[in-house]
Symmetry: C2
Subunit: 185 residues, 2 copies
DNA sequence: CCATAATGGAACACTGTTGTTCCAGAATGG
DNA sequence: CCATTCTGGAACAACAGTGTTCCATTATGG
C-alpha cells in the first residue's frame, strides 16, 4: 500500500534536500521560501517534511556525512603512499560539488569533528605520508586537513566564477595540493 | 572650534569601523545592534554615523582598500623574483587579520575587481615569476591570486580555531604557498 | 470510482532587524 | 558657567522570515 506513496515522499524529500544544497551553497542566508521555490515545492510542503529550519540542516548534515563516507571509501585511503591517497581523496571530494561550500563555510557542522579537531583516519593517513616521505613532516595533520578543504573550496568557487573546465580546475587543485604538502627538495 | 569635536567624531567613527570588522568577520550575519554593542556605542549613534547598513559596508570597503594598498606598498611587489615578492605580500596581508575573512567571504566587495578578475599589478607579478622560473607557468595569474587568498584565509581561521601561534601559522602558510606555486622538480 | 494521501495557497501571529524620531543627560570648548 | 555638540535610551512603524492552521485541489492505489 505504501509502495508508490513512500516512493513519492522519498522523492519529494530528496528534491528538497538537493535544492537546499544548491541554494544554501550559493547563499547561506537564503530563506526557506527560496529553498522551496528551487525545489519546485510549496513552502507548506517543505515545512511538512522539515518542521523547522534546524531539521533541514540536520538532514543536510546527515546526507553530507553519508556522501563524504562514500567518497572516502571510493578513494581507498588505506592504499599506496600518503600523498597518493590524498590525491585520490581530493579527486573524490571534488566531485561532491555544492557540498564543499556548505561544509567549508560551516553552514552544516559535522557532528564527529568539532573545528580544530582532525579525523582519526585522516591523521593516520598523514602519518603514513610522513613516514613514507611523501608528506612534509613539518606539516601537522590538522593543517593538511584544513589545507585540503580550503583548496577544494578554492577549486569549486573558481569553477563557479571563472569559466574554467571542471577537468582543468581539478588539475590545478591536485597540482597545488601536491606541491604544498610534499617535502621541499 | 572643530578641533576636539572633529577628533571625537573621528575616534567614534573608527571605533565603529574596528568593531564592525571584528564582529562581521566572525559572523557575517551579525546585526547592527551587535556591531554597536561591540563598539560600546548606542545603536542610535551608529545610525548617526552610518545611516544605513550599506553605508557601513561602503566605509568598510574603503578602509579595507586603503589597508590593502598600504600592505602592497610595504611588500615592494616590484622587487626580487616573483615568488619572493609573493612571499612578502603574503606576510603583509597576513597581518591584516579580520580583513581577510571579510574580503574572502565577499562580505565586502572591492570595487576594482569583480570576482573572476585579476588585479593588473598582480598579473604582472605572476608573469614575472613565470619568466624568472620561480612560479610554475602552468598556473594562471587568477588562480595564483585565488590561491593566495584562500591560503591566507586558511591561516587566519586556523589561528582562530586551533591554538597555534601567529608566527608558526604564518610559517605554514608561507611554506605551503611557496610549495604550491613553484615549478615541480 | 472512491477513499486516502500529498500538495500548495492563503491567512495568521510572532520574532528579530532596520531605520526613524524625540528627548534628556553628559561632555566639551570658549 | 553657558552654549554647543555628542550621546544613548525609548518608542515607533515597516519589513522579512518563520512556523502554524485550515482548506481546496490533485493524484494515486485499490
Amino acid at each position: 500500500m505504501t509502495t508508490a506513496r513512500a516512493g513519492s515522499r522519498a522523492r519529494t524529500r530528496q528534491a528538497i534536500l538537493d535544492a537546499a544544497f544548491e541554494v544554501l551553497a550559493r547563499n547561506p542566508a537564503a530563506s526557506l521560501g527560496d529553498v522551496a521555490a528551487a525545489a519546485d515545492v510549496g513552502r507548506t510542503t517543505l515545512h511538512r517534511y522539515f518542521p523547522e529550519r534546524s531539521d533541514l540542516l540536520v538532514a543536510l548534515r546527515d546526507e553530507a556525512t553519508a556522501r563524504l563516507d562514500q567518497a572516502r571509501t571510493r578513494a581507498r585511503t588505506a592504499d599506496d603512499t600518503g600523498a597518493a591517497a590524498i590525491r585520490r581523496l581530493c579527486q573524490e571530494y571534488f566531485d561532491l560539488g555544492d557540498l564543499l561550500s556548505l561544509l567549508f563555510r560551516e553552514q552544516v557542522e559535522l557532528d564527529d569533528e568539532s573545528p580544530g579537531t582532525c579525523d582519526d583516519w585522516f591523521a593516520d593517513l598523514v602519518r603514513r605520508g610522513h613516514a613514507d616521505g611523501t608528506i612534509d613532516t613539518e606539516l601537522p595533520a590538522i593543517w593538511v586537513q584544513s589545507l585540503l578543504w580550503s583548496q577544494l573550496y578554492l577549486g569549486w568557487s573558481f569553477l563557479s566564477e571563472a569559466n574554467a573546465s571542471r577537468h582543468e580546475t581539478l588539475r590545478l587543485v591536485l597540482r597545488c595540493v601536491e606541491g604544498a604538502i610534499r617535502p621541499l627538495r
